[in-house]
C-alpha cells in the first residue's frame, strides 16, 4: 500500500537536473522521473508533481492550480500507485483482468489497445473485472494470483456507447478529460478477492477480419510482459534484475496468447467468446 497525501495546489517550478527517465505520449512528455533527496519526484507536466519516498510507501502530490481533480486522481490511480507498488518490489502489469470460471484472464498491452473496453464488456456480460489498467500479481503462492485493483473502469465515449448499449445510466460515472470513469456496481460487477491468473492475452494491432488467438513462445511472452509492466527504478540494477526474474517467472508459469481482433465494437461478443474458448482449452 502507498499512503498518498494531497498538498495545496502550486505552479511547477523548473528543476535543476534532467529526468533519469521519461514517458512520452505522441511526442509529448507525459511523465518525467527525477531523483530527489527523499526518493523520487514524478512530474506530470502541467498536471501534478508527486514526491515518492525511497521505499515507495509514502507520497505527496502537489497539483498544478486549476487542474481538474479527476485528472489528478487518474494520475494517482493509474500511474503513481502501480509505479509505487513496483518500487515496493511488486510485479504490476499494464493490463486489465476479468474472471472467467473462477480464474482470472488478463488483457495486456499499451494504451489504446482495448484493455478497458474488453474488461467492461466482459463485466457487463457477467464476468466481473478484477483490474482495469494496472494488474498487480502475487508470485509467492503455488499459483500466480491476480490482486484486485481499483473498482472502476475508464472508457472513451465511443467505447462507453458500445459497452453499455446506450444505457450507461446504470453505472456511476465521473468525467475526466478524454475518458469517463465508471464505478463498479450491478451494471459493472467487480471481483474483490484475489484469483488465480489463468492466462494472459497480449492485445495486438494487426488488421484482421475475425478475432483469433495464437499462443506465443515463452521468450516472446517475456518480452511482452517487460514492455507492458511498471517499474519505478528503471536505472537500478538490483530492481531491474528482480523485475526481470519475476516477469520471467510469469512467462514460464502462465500461458500467454496473442489476441487479434477487428477494431469494431460490433465484434465484441465474438472476441469475448474467442477468449472464453481459448481459456477453456487450457
Amino acid at each position: 500500500l502507498i499512503d498518498i497525501r494531497m498538498r495545496a495546489a502550486a505552479p511547477q517550478r523548473p528543476l535543476p537536473d534532467l529526468p533519469f527517465h521519461e514517458y512520452r505520449v505522441r511526442d509529448t512528455s507525459w511523465a518525467q522521473f527525477y531523483r530527489v533527496a527523499t526518493g523520487f519526484l514524478l512530474r506530470f507536466p502541467d498536471v501534478v508533481d508527486i514526491v515518492i519516498s525511497r521505499d515507495a510507501s509514502y507520497a505527496e502530490a502537489t497539483p498544478v492550480p486549476d487542474v481538474p481533480a479527476a485528472l489528478v486522481e487518474h494520475v494517482l490511480l493509474n500511474q503513481v500507485t502501480p509505479l509505487a507498488q513496483s518500487g515496493q518490489g511488486a510485479t504490476v502489469l499494464h493490463a486489465s483482468a476479468v474472471i472467467v470460471d473462477e480464474v482470472s484472464v488478463a488483457f495486456l498491452g499499451p494504451s489504446g489497445r482495448g484493455k478497458s473496453t474488453l474488461a467492461a464488456n466482459f463485466a457487463c456480460n457477467g464476468y466481473p473485472f478484477i483490474a482495469e489498467d494496472a494488474l498487480q500479481l502475487d508470485l509467492a503462492r503455488s499459483d500466480i494470483v491476480a490482486i484486485p485493483g481499483h473498482p472502476s473502469i475508464r472508457l472513451r465515449p465511443d467505447a462507453e456507447s458500445a459497452v453499455f448499449a446506450g444505457d450507461a445510466s446504470l453505472a456511476q460515472r465521473e468525467e475526466t478529460l478524454s475518458k469517463t470513469r465508471f464505478a463498479s456496481g450491478c451494471a459493472l460487477p467487480f471481483r474483490s478477492d484475489p484469483a488465480k491468473l489463468h492466462c494472459v492475452f497480449v492485445l495486438g494491432c494487426e488488421t484482421v477480419q475475425e478475432p483469433f488467438v495464437a499462443q506465443v513462445s515463452p521468450s516472446e511472452a517475456l518480452h511482452q510482459l517487460i514492455r507492458n509492466s511498471f517499474l519505478l527504478e528503471v536505472d537500478d540494477r538490483t530492481a531491474m534484475a528482480s523485475h526481470f526474474a519475476h516477469l520471467a517467472d510469469v512467462a514460464e508459469r502462465v500461458p500467454v496468447f496473442q489476441l487479434e481482433f477487428p477494431r469494431r465494437f460490433e465484434v465484441l461478443a465474438a472476441v469475448r467468446q474467442t477468449v472464453i474458448d481459448a481459456a477453456a482449452s487450457l
Binding site: S217, P218, S219, L222, H223, I226, V234, R237, A241, F244
Partner: protein, 93 residues
C-alpha cells in the same frame, strides 16, 4: 582459430522454454535468442570455444558445418556489437 567468448558481467540471462532472454543491466536493454542461438549461448557461457561449439552443435543439428559456422559468426558479431560478449583468441590456439 578457436576463440573464447566472454559474457560480460552485467548481463543477466534467463532460459524460458528452449529460448533465452538476455538483460543488459547497464543499458537496460533486453534481447532474445531463439532455440539455436540459446544453445550456442549456453555453450559459450559454459566456456566452450567457438570451434568446440561448432563441433558440438553440428552433432546436435542437421546442418552443414560451413552454414552453421557462418550463422554462429554472425550471431557473435551481433552479440559483440550489443556489448554482451567479448571475443578473444583462445590461449591454446
Amino acid at each position: 582459430m578457436n576463440m573464447e567468448v566472454l559474457v560480460h558481467e552485467g548481463v543477466m540471462t534467463r532460459a524460458v522454454g528452449n529460448e533465452i532472454v538476455l538483460l543488459d543491466l547497464e543499458a537496460g536493454i533486453y534481447y532474445g535468442l531463439d532455440a539455436v542461438g540459446a544453445r550456442a549461448w549456453q555453450l559459450w557461457a559454459g566456456k566452450h570455444g567457438f570451434d568446440d561449439v561448432l563441433t558440438i552443435m553440428c552433432e546436435e543439428y542437421d546442418v552443414e558445418r560451413s552454414t552453421l559456422a557462418s550463422d554462429l559468426t554472425e550471431l557473435l558479431r551481433r552479440l559483440e556489437q550489443a556489448r554482451l560478449v567479448t571475443v578473444t583468441p583462445s590461449p591454446s590456439a
